[in-house]
Subunit: 211 residues, 6 copies
């Protein structure tokens, strides 16, 4: 095909596709109210490649805390280029003895990939079956949506993992925080968990929960 | 329009709509393997009105148990007409002092409607805010998807509520069962919840959890 | 586990989860323009438990009208806590002889639960099959999305039912209103329904439809 | 880039992409039970280009009937290549005076494109607003999901239109058929539509409805 | 049913359905920021039938260009009534020898209907299978989501087709434009496509791509 | 709460939750025909923790090929525990000079996380804007669904990345394979890409495409 394409080439196509970048992606405008489908989109003219790139997961989280672990999120609120695209990620750092306490992500599934170290991970299904495995470097494990799960550094060196979620805003409900760092009254906790009063008060004392 | 509609009326329309009942609904064929979107559909010729009607929610659950409460589900596995339609329901019976322990429905939201009695209900959000309210007859409360929540009969008479879910198979993960009725090892529980060893063993003893 | 959890406990987790309440729910800000996925969300700081609780379904609807029936909706526009969560509900009151005329909910499925009385309910499928049943107290019936259906008090006492929808804004198109209360011209109605001109005019006269 | 690509080029990519054709599309295997998400897929090896091509819309429907109109569907049951892809289409033929009676597609939206002739089309919204327009060759009109709508040939020549739906199996509920061709008892029809008994009986007589 | 419907008829139903038009559709307010689910909705009071009707597809596109073809879109940005409804359309004009170059619609499936002429159309699956067919007037062909496809006027007269998409904003990525009209550096193009440097430079010269 | 929980504890809850494991997850039964929503689920009794764990991503791909790169997929067909959960992953190995050629994932978005080395990555939007960035260890980049994108090892050491997709079966369409390894006739390629005949023939010779 010997062709000399003049300037008018595809003129109409061009004019129509000038709207198209809006539909390819929707970088979050975090200054506007969020909707059930995510944040409204930044104007196309304001979007740069940096909206699609995120570097904070390259920095180790501070594990100098009681759980000897840290979670660094890259959800839509931190990484606006993910908005509306159905996935997000996070970095897990677990020092020796580190633990990510039992938690759920309401409505999002998770896949974990071990970059370094050894992690004992597990989840509990609705029928109370337990799925638990010691994962080594290079192993992946999936945690189906909304189920209680945990990760423990079961090795003798620090562990590092990247986790991905099936939602740009998966949420994170840590069981201990929900019960003992919140203002849920102690008598309601004991009534709905069958934990002992003293146990609840002890953990509230540590975590700061009132009532 | 003076019309004498002959037998050939809409002939083509008719032939096309003979397939249509398949698309209106998809009554679960529970004998076939379920898929991520629900069960395969029964043949249209096998469907009767009874597939769309369910009577078991009319029967009070047996509350002669330690929680003095009962949940009667009408999920797709019990009520096949709900299959694929995005909602299901359940009946809650709470005797005086009855409690539905803290639990989640992985990935489904819930609305509760109080038919009888007084129910103290609440949920905890990911930021550990607590939303708790005493509900009277006629009150509704919504529990957003995947969050820990509970219901307590806070009155002096039996309570009855109907709850609805935004999924035909919402799941039900009861915290105490997940921890203390399962085979999750005690040392993992203590490590990931900070509960005392003795507390865990005590509840495992009651609920039957091993390890 | 002997633990003294210091103030820095979970420091990073905390800061990340401060965004999380946004993702758990999206209480409608009814002052902002709605989107295809629902209303934009109220700021988390403005949300209270009352956004998740609704009391109007506890009040009997006024059935002193020609259909001897009333529908009290709890859609997202009335019950903002439902916004984005995929379900809503309504209360049906049917006095003796009361009727909810034939109607559809465009795109939402419905489940009805009879709290009191006897209701003859039914729907018609695309292949013109009729599914009809007399429901007693405690019975449930599902009406698949978008299909014509109705409810009639077929007993000798008032009836009460709670219905739930698979959408926070299911819509409600009442056949008689669409045809006879609207401005759809009579000649178009007769041409597209084959009803007699006099019949259409009679019902328009009653319901107030013009043209 | 001076390159000599050997046979081993992309070896791994190749082996992985051998599964990929499954995910690109899902041609319906109409012999297997349908699921809420559509039919199971034919094996990739059995798929040919003819699964993606459909010719029946090129043939004029037979309008020698009382409505002087015909609908030729290309839903998934007729055009298996559409299965799972979220859209389908149909051909409308309207002879002079032809009418597509008032109907809904439960849960699917529709766009009509006029190829030939003049069509008066309209729909009625839930608030009983009427949206009606005379469309000429080249005009498009959208009918939002689940709402009552109709098409009338309002010109002096035959009309032809192509309609598309936002679902591979949109369903088709024709009001007159639902009421007068079905077995819905006459007393229920009169009670739930306020039509006169004689009117219902007359149309049942024409369309063949019993009871 | 002898009835005298008074003014209070359906009073409650009426008040509830006054919100309903919002849920039936969501005509795009193009002045507001778009969201992942589409544009915010115009107020119901501002909506007219013209929001649901689009005439520009009735006008032949200008094919006096090098591809001898034109695409006229009716996406949500052009046809606001489609917003949120899951489908859109476009008109293809192909003069004799006209070609719609290889392109994709990221995330939307397409169905083409030939109104006039003869079109050779095809797509390539992930496993590199080619599905290609010569389509005549009245033929339809489906192009599954995201796959490379093309249309060529293979006849001796102009061709006209209507295409429909499974999204109101399907996007349009034309391969030649992406590679040779963009600022993608030539060395990256050669490295990632294995095209010769001279070939890339030649087409960049024609199409205007830099670097 | 002094409690002695007898064996009958939660009897009803137990029986209902025996179905629940089905809804928590849907491990693919790869022997059954796939559906648009994924594979049918294995029976709950056959599910083990190994269905949720995948080790093949821990093994470096073989980069001894012309692109000096390898992609190791963990899609649902390889990692059945992902079925129906809305995400999947893959491992990218890029030797020095390695390239993942321009490709798309039809309908899935992707996030890449660099574990080792330096990767120059980019995508092209529908409006032909180019988003390109050199990523270092710890950087993430998102590639919105269906858009052409590529990855190049731009460093002096091997690179390793983990990518995640917003679908369990994202597909993979490699541009060069689609054009030059397929049976797409050369005259169609030249007509629809404007590439020179000789260029097409040269690459077909290398990659094995016929016609």
């Amino acid at each position: 095909m010997k062709m000399i394409l003049p300037i008018i080439f595809f003129f109409f196509l061009l004019s129509s596709s000038s709207h198209a970048s809006v539909v390819d992606f929707c970088v979050a405008d975090l200054t506007l109210p969020v909707t059930p489908s995510g944040y409204p989109c930044k104007k196309g003219s304001a979007v740069t490649v940096n909206d699609f790139v995120f570097s904070a997961l390259g920095v180790a989280g501070n594990t100098s805390n009681i759980i000897k672990a840290a979670v660094t999120p890259a959800f839509d609120a931190q990484f606006p280029g993910l908005n509306g695209l159905g996935l997000s990620l996070a970095r897990l750092d677990l020092a020796v003895g580190g633990v990510i306490p039992i938690h759920t992500h309401p409505g999002a599934s998770e896949v974990l990939f071990v970059i370094q170290g050894t992690i004992c991970a597990g989840f509990i299904a609705s029928d109370n079956s337990v799925y638990i495995k010691t994962l080594n470097k290079g192993d992946s494990m999936v945690f189906p949506q909304g189920l209680l799960h945990f990760q423990i550094n079961s090795g003798k060196t620090p562990s590092l993992a990247i986790v991905t979620f099936s939602s740009p805003s998966p949420g994170l409900q840590i069981l201990d925080f929900a019960l003992f760092k919140s203002d849920l009254p102690t008598d309601i906790i004991t009534a709905t968990t069958f934990l002992d009063f003293a146990q609840v008060k002890k953990l509230k004392g540590v975590l700061g929960g009132k009532n």
